[in-house]
Assembly symmetry: C2
Amino acid sequence: MNGSVKAVTGTDARRERWDGHRADRRREFVEAALRVLESGGTDLPMEAVAAQAGVTKPVLYRYFADKAALVDALAERGSQILLSRLMPAINSDGPALARIRAAVGAYFAVIDEHPDLYRLLARRPGTDGAQASTERDKELISTTLTAVISDALCRFGLGSGGAEPWAHGVTGLVHSTGEWWLRRRSMSRTRVVEYVTALIWSAFTGILREGGIVLGPQDPVPACRVPAAGRPAGTGSPPALDPAAGPIPGGGTG
Amino acid sequence: MNGSVKAVTGTDARRERWDGHRADRRREFVEAALRVLESGGTDLPMEAVAAQAGVTKPVLYRYFADKAALVDALAERGSQILLSRLMPAINSDGPALARIRAAVGAYFAVIDEHPDLYRLLARRPGTDGAQASTERDKELISTTLTAVISDALCRFGLGSGGAEPWAHGVTGLVHSTGEWWLRRRSMSRTRVVEYVTALIWSAFTGILREGGIVLGPQDPVPACRVPAAGRPAGTGSPPALDPAAGPIPGGGTG
DNA sequence: AGTAACTGTTACTTCAAGTCACATACCGTC
DNA sequence: GACGGTATGTGACTTGAAGTAACAGTTACT
């Protein structure tokens, strides 16, 4: 009889049996790596990861070409964790300020829960240098933020040329403050969050104000529909801040 | 006769002969390392540095305990280069906006000239982790900025409690945008500088505005006298941005 | 039974960091 | 002029982690 898979699909079922299994296995190792990070310290020896997963190095190397690949996977995991907390906050309804505060709060909550992962990804060991997947995680976040900012600017009828640099800027702002806070913890989390929120809020409203728009803390902004991934940024010019050096309306004395 | 040093100072002159020589020698190696960075790539093998200096490893190791120490020295050098361009810009006279622009411009000019050094210091290899001189350079810059911001806030009669987180935030803002720009160079330098300046300017004026002070692009701020090193930040609370909402919604506990 | 895909192991190579043992040069002291 | 303290330098080593090679067992489809 031929209930045999081969007869039905035309391929040897011994091949397909394992499809998708790789992904599971990789996840296992990522979990193991996370456990090593939690217990261990700042570095992440491959041997320890393998041991934590209950096997030896060569097995690990069957699923990750090298250490950079593992760290990459960790980065992706980290980004997922972060974005899954960040996006609901950013996309929540409510006034803009509350959303910024929620997003910043979520960010600090995440790094508070996963300090080791954060530190690992912050300064990549293993990712030696330039080309190979340079910081796909931060890039992913910045890209997402680019879309959000770009969207917001468009809604106010402003050029979105600044979206990309500003997204990277804000990402770095939060990131650096986060690193500093983790290192020192010289103030409560709610307090840092409040300070960071104030800074971003000021920056945001200030940019709008340059475009002639005044936004109050309670004013709503239509929720962003985040597009699939960041468009490379639209067009527009940097605001001509300095009335002496160019056009643009009545100096910031609003 | 005894023109001998020992007779005069009480110590063997064979000891003092070398005082201060170490510093010179270390400088030599730092130069060599810079040359390696320029020609080579992203990594910095000790052997290459030694070779570049015309000697072998053990000699290098007589002046630097380990690689981290060398990188530290490079970081210090980098900070010096950066601060020597940054501080005149920040402390120049002229309106606040112009000074911010000059400072941001100086920053980008420096990283444009020393991209490899910048990249090395951005993600420290060798500095394994926690304790040993964690990023003395960025810390130094942030500390200096803390002083500047703190000073500025005081001049406007505002609490300086936010100076430290904001300093780290702004440092990170510029840093991240710089990294992104170096990687991509998708816009001209003057353009990024303008965008970053706009963001910082907005943040700055916004913070002042929360304190009831309106600052225009042309308005001067008394030049900062920068104290020797950053005071640990003063006192004050985060601005209560949201008159309606009391405590924090997002993120959970502090 | 034969075999394609996995499972896993021990033992190796490689490479850079860092150390050891040893040899030489300068120059002030005696 | 011999002595010796501080430097100069080298080649050969050790160590540790990344990554590889060769080999052996298991499962389930053909």
